[in-house]
């Protein structure tokens, strides 16, 4: 069973968002990394770039396929996890910790309300698996 920690926001595209004040941290969920298989390359944007909600901000390549990454909410990228360049396996080993992908300044704080809670996301992936 996939790990879905409490306290994070989740998108139906299988990204998570941790909100601390005006800053959001984004990564892919444990369920996503498990479905992708071994991640071998992560393509991320540069700090300073701005994205709309649901926009493609990068891609993640596993031994199976290349998948696009979608930003759960709008914002300006303030920092990206450069260590994933050399150690993409962090996405598999610690998707909610060392495998984080980027931090952003949230454009609209209210947008998080449209995202799923841990319980809702758990139901969503369960329904998806049927």
């Amino acid at each position: 069973m996939a790990n879905v920690p409490e306290g994070l926001y989740y998108s139906k595209d299988h990204e998570w968002l941790r909100v601390e004040g005006e800053t959001g941290t984004v990564g892919i969920t444990d369920h996503a990394q498990h479905s992708l298989g071994d991640v071998v390359y992560v393509e991320l944007p540069k700090a300073g770039e701005s994205f709309e909600a649901h926009a493609t901000f990068g891609s993640v390549e596993s031994v199976k396929a290349v998948s696009e990454l979608f930003l759960p909410v709008a914002g300006e990228v303030t920092e990206v996890n450069e260590t994933l360049g050399d150690e993409p396996e962090k996405v598999n080993n610690d998707p909610y910790g060392e495998g984080w992908m980027l931090k952003l300044k949230l454009a609209k704080r209210g947008e998080v309300d449209s995202l799923l809670s841990a319980a809702e996301y758990e139901d969503f992936i369960k329904a998806d698996g049927e």
């Binding site: 298989g37 071998v40 390359y41 031994v63 199976k64 396929a65």
Partner: protein, 512 residues
């Protein structure tokens, strides 16, 4: 059960050609000079010459080299060895006759810059092939230039761009140009790439639970305007015929867009149904799939574009045309097509492939082409029926020339699609296409083509059933496969994460 293998693997361990080097071995000996020797300095200045005694270049005799490469060649799995069921790739047999035709000296030795009057035979071959492809697709305009499938796609999409701009008068008005290219979520990844390269914005169309293009979603997307066209594969990558194709084309046409069809799966249609009759405006064909020219190993490929009469002015130049009369210039290369997207390939495309494809078409004839299509679909359905009780199928629709299964049942025991594919190698088969289409989790896409007989199809079905049994009773055997190859399971993740791309990396880097 004891494995009955379709082919055996050669297991000798061959050293790299560099490691086989022995000082003084050589493959030639020149006769003594019968002219006066010229000092090297007079021919080649010192700064252009290597001073390192060709360090690293192996020294080998002719038999050393021949044996080395022959041994390595036996490790390949190839279409002449057995079933190569890569879904969406149509790995069919490449007939010896086609190869012989391509080697006829008058064709093989013809210079690409030979004047038209000296190349009438070659031009006739191209003209005839165009004529046949027009008949097969129901689309009268043909260019043989594109060098492969994705290149044909790009050409087709560029033609859509040019045709819309000509129609709407938006050639020089970027803001007014139609921008949206619709692509189903089951499409080949090259489709959005081609659209993007031609300046289009891609919008994705959902698939229905049946594995078909969602018509309602298509209508919604068309209603929002700005639609330039649709890129559709039919049968789609799930191996299912888009039975609403006429309506799909009508919806796109009503919205002012054009329909491009990806011809990757034409092996399900040749001689039976024509894209032109379905409402398609432009299509590319893969001669290296459907028309049996070599596929893989560098081919080279060939991806002709076929289009409606309305789009014909936009085809690449030069066009191969016929004046109809006899004589030295009966067939000609025409450059004067002002609306053309221009040249997309040096010379006239991969001509050797045109010869092979024409030979394939002529040796089959109308009936034969239709029979090949029917056999390709029948073979896929034989496998689909044979494995229906063993593997989960994501869709109920009957498959066309390829069938799709998932690892849903097996993955409960921890055995996944990748493991099943690896184990198939032990049974002497090339694995199927895996994890594609992307919309199907754990996809296994199997395309046997018409080139295999019933006995080999049954052997494949038996192997897959046996692997499913092993997955339950002896999962480790599957999880650690392959066992009978030169080397066992590779760590694909490590190979991608930490690739070793050069021989003796440390030493070379130190010496540089």
């Amino acid at each position: 059960m004891t494995i009955t293998k379709a082919a055996t693997h050669v297991t000798q361990n061959e050293a790299l050609v560099f490691e086989r080097s022995q000082t003084g071995r050589r493959g030639y000996r020149l006769p003594a000079l019968d002219v006066e020797e010229t000092a090297l300095d007079e021919l080649l200045p010192a700064e252009l010459r290597r001073e390192d005694d060709l360090e690293g270049v192996p020294e080998l005799s002719e038999p050393d080299v021949v044996r080395h490469f022959t041994r390595i060649s036996t490790w390949n799995y190839n279409i002449d060895l057995g079933l190569y069921p890569l879904g969406s790739c149509t790995m069919k047999y490449n007939s010896r006759l086609n190869e012989r035709v391509a080697r006829i000296p008058g064709f093989a030795a013809l210079h690409p810059l030979a004047p038209e009057e000296d190349a009438q035979g070659a031009l006739e071959v191209m003209y005839e092939l165009q004529r046949h492809l027009a008949e097969i697709t129901g689309l009268p305009g043909v260019s043989l230039q594109p060098a492969a499938g994705a290149h044909g796609e790009l050409t087709g999409v560029m033609m859509i761009r040019a045709a819309l701009d000509a129609r709407d008068g938006t050639s020089s008005d970027e803001a007014q140009r139609r921008k949206v290219m619709l692509i189903p979520d089951s499409a080949h990844g090259t489709n959005p790439a081609s659209a993007h390269l031609s300046g289009f914005t891609v919008k994705t169309i959902r698939s229905t639970p049946e594995g078909l293009t969602d018509l309602d979603n298509l209508r919604e997307l068309c209603a929002s305007g700005d639609v330039a066209g649709l890129m559709l594969t039919n049968p789609n990558t799930c191996g299912i015929f888009e039975r609403n194709i006429k309506e799909i084309c009508a919806v796109v046409h009503e919205a002012g867009g054009l329909v491009y069809m990806d011809g990757a799966n034409m092996n399900a249609l040749v001689g039976v149904a024509r894209p032109g009759d379905m409402g398609v405006d432009v299509i590319h064909l893969n001669l290296h799939k459907t028309f049996s020219t070599p596929h893989g190993g560098g081919g080279p490929g060939s991806g002709p574009c076929c289009c409606t009469a309305e789009l014909e002015p936009f085809l690449p130049v030069p066009r191969v045309t016929s004046g109809g009369e006899t004589g030295d210039t009966r067939f000609a290369l025409e450059y004067d097509r002002p609306q053309s997207v221009g040249r997309v390939k040096a010379f006239y495309g991969n001509f050797g492939m045109h010869l092979r494809a024409l030979a394939y078409i002529l040796t089959h004839g109308n009936e034969g082409l239709r029979e090949a299509t029917e056999a390709a679909v029948l073979n896929a359905r034989f496998i689909a029926a044979g494995l229906a009780d063993t593997f989960d199928s994501p869709f109920d629709s009957p498959p066309m020339h390829e069938c799709l299964f998932t690892d849903k049942r097996q993955s409960r025991k921890g055995v996944h699609t990748l493991d099943i594919a690896k184990r198939l190698i032990d049974y002497g088969f090339h694995p199927m296409t895996i994890y594609f289409p992307l919309i199907v989790s754990g996809a296994m896409l199997i395309e046997p083509t018409e080139s295999v007989g019933r006995a080999e199809l049954q052997q494949f079905v038996d192997a897959m059933k046996e692997i499913a049994r092993e997955a339950v009773e002896d999962a480790d055997t599957v999880l650690n496969a392959p066992h009978t190859t030169r080397i066992g399971r590779l760590d694909e993740a490590a190979a991608a994460r930490k690739p070793v791309l050069r021989w003796r990396p440390a030493e070379r880097a130190a010496g540089a």
